[in-house]
Subunit: 225 residues, 2 copies
DNA sequence: GGACAGCCATGAGGGTTCTGGTAGTAGAGG
DNA sequence: CCTCTACTACCAGAACCCTCATGGCTGTCC
C-alpha cells in the first residue's frame, strides 16, 4: 500500500511517515502543495493524507485539482482543530474523509485502513463540453441524446481532451497521459486517434469540436464545437 | 431520506431532529439502545446516527448487532471527545464513519450527506436493475415474474454486477470481489461466468443486460437491459 | 460404499476488434 | 513554390473475448 503524505510541518510529516511505515505502508512525503501535486500526478498512490494548510497550493485546491484531472485516489484530509467549516468544505471538494488535528496514530491508521477498505472512491465524475458528454464510470459517451461508441483508447484520448477543454494540448502531453509513460512509438499515433475521434464525434454531427493548432497541438472547444 | 437518531441526551436528540428535519430529512429518534435496535429492525432507514454512550445497549453493540443481522444501513457514530480509541473501534464494529462530540450542525449534515452519497456498503438487501431482481438473503433471482435459477457463483457475480449497475466493472474487480481475494487462477473464469449469466438472464428474454466494454470490463444496464 | 449429478476451474481454439505503424497526400506557412 | 506539418487510408499483428470440452471435486441418493 503506497501512501502520499502532504504536510509542511516537518516534525509531523516525519512522525507520520515513521508511524505508517511501521504499519507496513510505503510512504512518500511532500512538504508543500506543488510538490505534492507533482508526486500525486506521477505516482499511483493507494491513498493520500493531505494537510489543508500548505505553502504553495493549499489542500483544498490540491484535492480539487486532482479530482478535476480525473484522479480519484482516496484522500484523507487533515484539518485544524477549530476549523469546523473546513471539514464540510473538505468533503465537498472531493476528500473522502478528514481527521482533526491533533490526532493519534491509532486513529490515523484506523481511518486510513477504513478508507482503503472502502476503496469505494466516489466514482469519477462525468465530464462534458457543450452537448458532448462522457461518463468515465459507465464508459459512456454521447452528443445530446445520441450515444457514441468509443474504444478504450479513443475514450481515454477524448476524456483527456475534455478535461482540458478550451486549452491547447500538445501531442506529447496526450502521448504521456494516455499511453504508458514509457511508450516510445511513433507520436503520429496521436494524429491517428484524433482522426478516429473526429470521425465519430464531429463528422456525423457536422461539428468541429477538435481544432488543430498547428505546431502546438489540439484544442477541444469548450462548448463542444 | 429517512434517518434514525439514537441519542439519550434529550436536548441533543431534539436539536438534531429539528436540524435534520429543516434539511429535509425524515427523522425518528430513539432514546436508548434497545429502542434504537427495534426501530432500526422494523424500518428501512437510509442512515443511522448513533451515539456510543447509551443506556441499555451501547452504540457498539447496536451497530455490531445490526451488521450481524445483515443490516448494512450506513451508520454515523457519535463519539466522546476524549475517546480516541473509541473511533478505531467504531470503525471496526462496522460503523461507516464517526463524529466527535461536540459537533456542529454543518459538519453533521455534511458527513451524513457524504455517507448517503457513498451509499451503504455491500448490503444483503435485495437489489434490482429494471425488471431484473435478486434477493441475496433468499438467494432468489428473477426477471419480472419469472424465476431464474443460479448457482452460488453465478449469483455472486450477478449480484456484484447489479450493485454496480450502470458502471463498467473490470474483470479484475469481479475476480477480487467474487472469488477469494487470493484467488490467482485464470481471469478467463470471469468470461465463463459472464457467458453462463447471459445464457440465463439475457438469451431467454431476448435481452442484452450485460454489455462487454472491450478493454475495460462489463457493464450491466441500469434498466436491466 | 458406489454411482451419479451438479458445480466449478482450466485450457485450447477461433473469431473479432483494436491498435500501432507506414506511406502517400493534402494543406498551411514562409 | 518549397518545406514542413498534419491528415487519411490501409494493413498486419496483437490483444481480447467467446465458446466449448474436459476433468476434478463435492454432496446426495440409493
Amino acid at each position: 500500500m503506497r501512501v502520499l503524505v502532504v504536510e509542511d510541518d516537518k516534525r509531523v510529516a516525519s512522525a507520520v511517515r515513521r508511524g505508517l511505515e511501521a504499519e507496513g505502508f510505503a510512504v512518500d512525503v511532500a512538504l508543500d502543495g506543488v510538490d505534492g501535486l507533482h508526486l500525486a500526478r506521477e505516482n499511483n498512490y493507494d491513498s493520500i493524507v493531505l494537510d489543508i494548510m500548505l505553502p504553495g497550493i493549499n489542500g483544498y485546491r490540491l484535492c480539487a485539482q486532482l479530482r478535476e484531472e480525473g484522479d480519484w485516489t482516496p484522500i484523507l484530509m487533515l484539518t485544524a482543530k477549530d476549523g469546523e467549516l473546513d471539514e464540510a468544505e473538505a468533503l465537498d471538494t472531493g476528500a473522502d474523509d478528514f481527521l482533526t488535528k491533533p490526532f493519534s496514530f491509532v486513529v490515523l491508521v484506523a481511518r486510513l485502513r477504513a478508507l482503503l477498505r472502502r476503496g469505494a472512491r466516489s466514482a469519477p465524475a462525468p465530464v462534458e463540453a457543450g452537448d458532448l458528454h462522457l461518463d468515465p464510470a459507465a464508459h459512456r459517451c454521447g452528443r445530446g441524446e445520441i450515444d457514441i461508441e468509443l474504444t478504450a483508447r479513443e475514450f481515454a484520448v477524448l476524456e483527456f481532451l475534455v478535461r482540458r477543454r478550451g486549452e491547447v494540448v500538445a501531442k506529447s502531453e496526450i502521448l504521456e497521459n494516455v499511453w504508458d509513460f514509457d511508450f516510445d512509438g511513433d507520436p503520429n499515433i496521436v494524429e491517428v486517434y484524433i482522426r478516429r475521434l473526429r470521425k465519430k464525434i464531429d463528422e456525423p454531427f457536422a461539428r468541429e469540436a477538435i481544432t488543430t493548432i498547428r505546431g502546438a497541438g489540439y484544442r477541444l472547444a469548450a462548448d463542444g464545437g
